[in-house]
Subunit: 319 residues, 2 copies
């Protein structure tokens, strides 16, 4: 009789919520979600994660020896080899913390830690639009812009684990200042935050009545979805912001195609919920600045896993 360890815990640590799933790599058996945030201490956060995991394994009668390991998806620059978090802007209680060691001690299980964009890239490659393809570049467009590159089933992490950071490729050296200190990073030109900033400016300058109406006069309520909505309804200012962002995104992804020539480019993140309203003009923008052969060879799609990235991202580290 084979007694193979075959269960995986996936911990997804987000800035607003945290989830714990139990999976066998084929399906998710159970999931527990609880709110996170800055107020939760490091100790409490870890205790809750451990508690939820034990709850799930008990519920499904899974013994420790049947568990292959824990995969942890975490935002921010980190060292996936040591499992050490350098800096976590949205969960500052985890900054400068040896997460893997701490969890390994508490749970007595092998632990893998990886940044969230890389986890998303990996699960999209293994279970999403990258299935059956040799390489996938994943880009997430939401508050920020992140990405990850998977070739032959392996994450290409880079020398200091900084590969895939498409959001901080400089496309316009004279462009707006990015939070990272540089000017004209893709993130400063095309992220949800960038679109929000431009939309608020447009409303303040009285250049968009529709967006003003949509936010009921409170510009703090404007976000990328406001821009999308107004652009769909034909508001000229919103259309320009949306179009410009897509042109920059296309230019960045065209660079990715020239440099790594992936089989698939998968676009995820909040902004990708716009569907074909994003994907059609984005594909055209990429086509304009890419070699025709390479453009044709690359499948450009919306990430297939969508919200399920939170479930599968961490689990895929053990797949």
């Amino acid at each position: 009789m084979k007694k193979k360890k075959k269960y995986i815990f996936g911990w997804d640590l987000g800035g607003t919520k945290v989830s714990v799933v139990l999976s066998d790599g084929r399906r998710i058996f159970s999931k527990r979600v609880f709110p996170s945030g800055r107020s939760l201490s490091r100790k409490t956060l870890l205790r809750q994660l451990v508690y939820c995991s034990r709850l799930l394994s008990r519920k499904h009668g899974v013994l420790r020896r049947q568990i292959r390991g824990i995969g942890i998806s975490c935002p921010g620059p980190l060292d996936p080899v040591r499992g050490f978090i350098y800096h976590s802007p949205n969960l500052p209680q985890l900054s400068r913390f040896d997460l893997a060691k701490s969890v390994r001690t508490k749970m007595q299980l092998p632990v893998k830690v990886e940044n969230d964009a890389n986890c998303a890239a990996l699960c999209e490659a293994l279970k999403g639009s990258g299935k059956g393809h040799s390489s996938l570049f994943y880009v997430t467009v939401s508050t920020g812009i992140g990405g990850g590159f998977v070739a032959d089933g392996n994450l290409i992490r880079g020398k200091n684990f900084g590969a895939g950071e498409l959001g901080h490729v400089v496309l316009d050296p004279t462009g707006p200042r990015c939070f990272c200190g540089k000017r004209g990073c893709l993130e400063a030109l095309a992220s949800g935050t960038a679109m929000t900033r431009l939309a608020r400016e447009a409303v303040q300058k009285g250049r968009s009545r529709m967006m003003k109406k949509l936010c009921k006069g409170d510009i703090q309520l404007i976000d990328a979805f406001t821009v999308e909505k107004a652009a769909r309804r034909g508001d000229p200012a919103a259309k320009k912001i949306w179009k410009d962002a897509i042109q920059w995104l296309g230019l960045g992804l065209s660079g990715v195609i020239q440099i790594v020539n992936p089989s698939v480019i998968a676009v995820g993140g909040g902004v990708s919920q716009a569907g074909s309203f994003l994907m059609n003009p984005l594909t055209q923008a990429i086509r304009k600045t890419t070699w025709p052969d390479s453009f044709r060879a690359t499948k450009i799609v919306r990430a297939k896993l969508g919200d399920r990235v939170a479930d599968w991202g961490a689990v895929s580290l053990w797949m």
Copy 2:
């Protein structure tokens, strides 16, 4: 007694000359060079390559069974899996030609074909500045700008073998037209050809007396070396051309660092002969648009093998 095949033939097919070397992967035993060019027919070219190879093996008493294979480095878009040349601008007699099959039949030996920039990247990674490092991005700046990416000793070729084509990353969508049809490719902004074009314009417009003197009034004699020479001597027009090209090159390589985060960036090609006059400002340009951590993690150097790329490039396909 072990009778291991251990010799490799390396064929380097260039637009002006062709070389054949015999190597064991550690050193080059012998080399034969002959002029190529468009006038040589495909048949004659192949016959000479075969003849030279047999000459070398006879000279060193190497038997067929001691030869692992033939590595062929060839310019232009090609399919390295089939060994098929799609298009060879500088050796048009090889365009649309199943090179590997033809050589395999003639020599009765295994054959590997790869484009020249990838061969250069591979040998630089295995025997040059990439030795002991996990990944290397090679960029060659000469008439054109090409490149190749090697991770863990393997070429990352991409879906349609177009990876590493840094020269055709669009950096300035409103910039000068590139021969590939797009606008503002790095190659159209920073290659030897781009610098030559700008220098000739400057001389024609009477903006550089020094370059006019250096070319003795014949602007056809101006090339990237003229620009370098005049820039070293302080000619303002030449200095601007040189500096601008380096800024664009830095921006492109900074994108490479953000996307693939290689351990080493090696700069080869004719323009790299300028040494620190290129490398110092280039490193500074890269620093300006790259995350400090990633900049520090990446070693930026002049390619170590220099001219020996022609010897080792093709051989490295069998190493």
